[in-house]
């Protein structure tokens, strides 16, 4: 439980600083272009890693289970441009159905 509060404090302060970086430091020079490019790639990179661990992550092993069906269904939903919340519901439903059936 103490762990959770440590995360809340550190991530909170870091996020506040990131959001304030532009407006508070305004007038100073911008990030160098190459660094800017790296920062811009951080979001897709971290999100992709989360997709993978959330889909295949097991107890220090790769697990292929009902989640794959759910995420597969979500890929189709997202490609069809459904709202995010609908894609999430489809993923949950497909996964729950497979778990119920197996």
């Amino acid at each position: 439980m103490r762990d959770a509060w440590l995360v809340v404090a550190v991530v909170g302060v870091a996020t506040i600083a990131c959001k304030a970086a532009g407006p508070v430091l305004v007038g100073r020079r911008e990030l160098p272009p190459r660094l800017q490019a790296c920062v811009e790639l951080l979001a897709p990179v971290m999100l992709t890693a989360l997709v993978i661990t959330q889909t295949f992550g097991g107890d220090e092993e790769i697990e292929v289970d009902a989640r794959v069906v759910g995420v597969g269904a979500a890929v189709v939903a997202i490609a069809l441009r459904t709202p995010i919340i609908v894609a999430m519901a489809i993923a949950a439903l497909a996964t729950a159905l497979v778990r119920l059936a197996v």
């Binding site: 995360v7 550190v10 990131c18 532009g22 971290m46 993978i52 889909t55 999430m88």
Partner: protein, 207 residues
């Protein structure tokens, strides 16, 4: 603020599901609510819950969230010039920057301060209150994963990543991140593969 209304259901539903997830992973209801109030960035908060759920370390959870939120440095730079007032006021109002309020404020081709701060405030109130409600609902549910909640969060991360994958660089970096993560899962403790995958952003160094 009115501009935010059509989008209002999504932070509410995300807040609800975040509350449920945080409760299920043993993150603690109070910690989840305080985090919604201070961090106010959905993807990073879900990332922390995801690492906790997998049994990852505090360090891995913190790094994953901070790397994810580093994008706000770039985002806040794009709107730096529209904030009026002194430093303290700009520091406070810059906290209204979230992906949704930022996207809304730029929809007319230039960034508008009233929309950014107004919609950000609406999303903030909805996000914190629905997180609180979600932790209550989470206390009632036995096993959220039986409902496929784990796959729903994978779908959320995927949907958030999707707009970045339209350009070649984003796609290449994401593919590299996927490979790094898959290779490390069997060998590294939970959370570490996610942090290690951040190295894929170094592809940005290429011209």
């Amino acid at each position: 603020m009115r501009a935010a209304l059509p989008l209002a259901p999504s932070p509410m539903l995300f807040g609800l599901s975040y509350g449920v997830l945080a409760h299920a992973t043993g993150f603690g209801s109070a910690a989840a609510i305080v985090m919604s109030a201070t961090t106010f960035a959905g993807a990073a908060q879900f990332a922390v819950a995801s690492v906790f759920d997998a049994g990852g370390t505090v360090t891995a959870a913190i790094l994953a969230a901070v790397f994810l939120n580093a994008r706000y440095v770039a985002i806040s730079m794009t709107v730096a010039s529209i904030f009026p007032g002194g430093r303290a006021r700009r520091l406070l109002e810059s906290q209204a920057i979230v992906d949704e309020s930022w996207a809304l404020s730029g929809r007319r081709g230039r960034f508008e301060w009233p929309i950014l701060v107004g919609s950000g405030l609406v999303f903030y109130v909805l996000w914190v209150s629905s997180t609180a409600l979600g932790t209550v609902i989470g206390g009632v549910l036995d096993d959220p994963n039986a409902l496929g909640l784990d796959a729903a969060f994978a779908a959320l991360f995927l949907a958030l990543a999707f707009p970045y994958l339209r350009n070649r660089r984003g796609l290449q970096a994401a593919a590299l991140a996927a490979v790094i993560t898959l290779v490390l899962i069997p060998y590294a403790p939970a959370g570490v593969p996610i942090v290690a995958a951040s190295a894929a952003c170094l592809l940005g160094l290429r011209r």
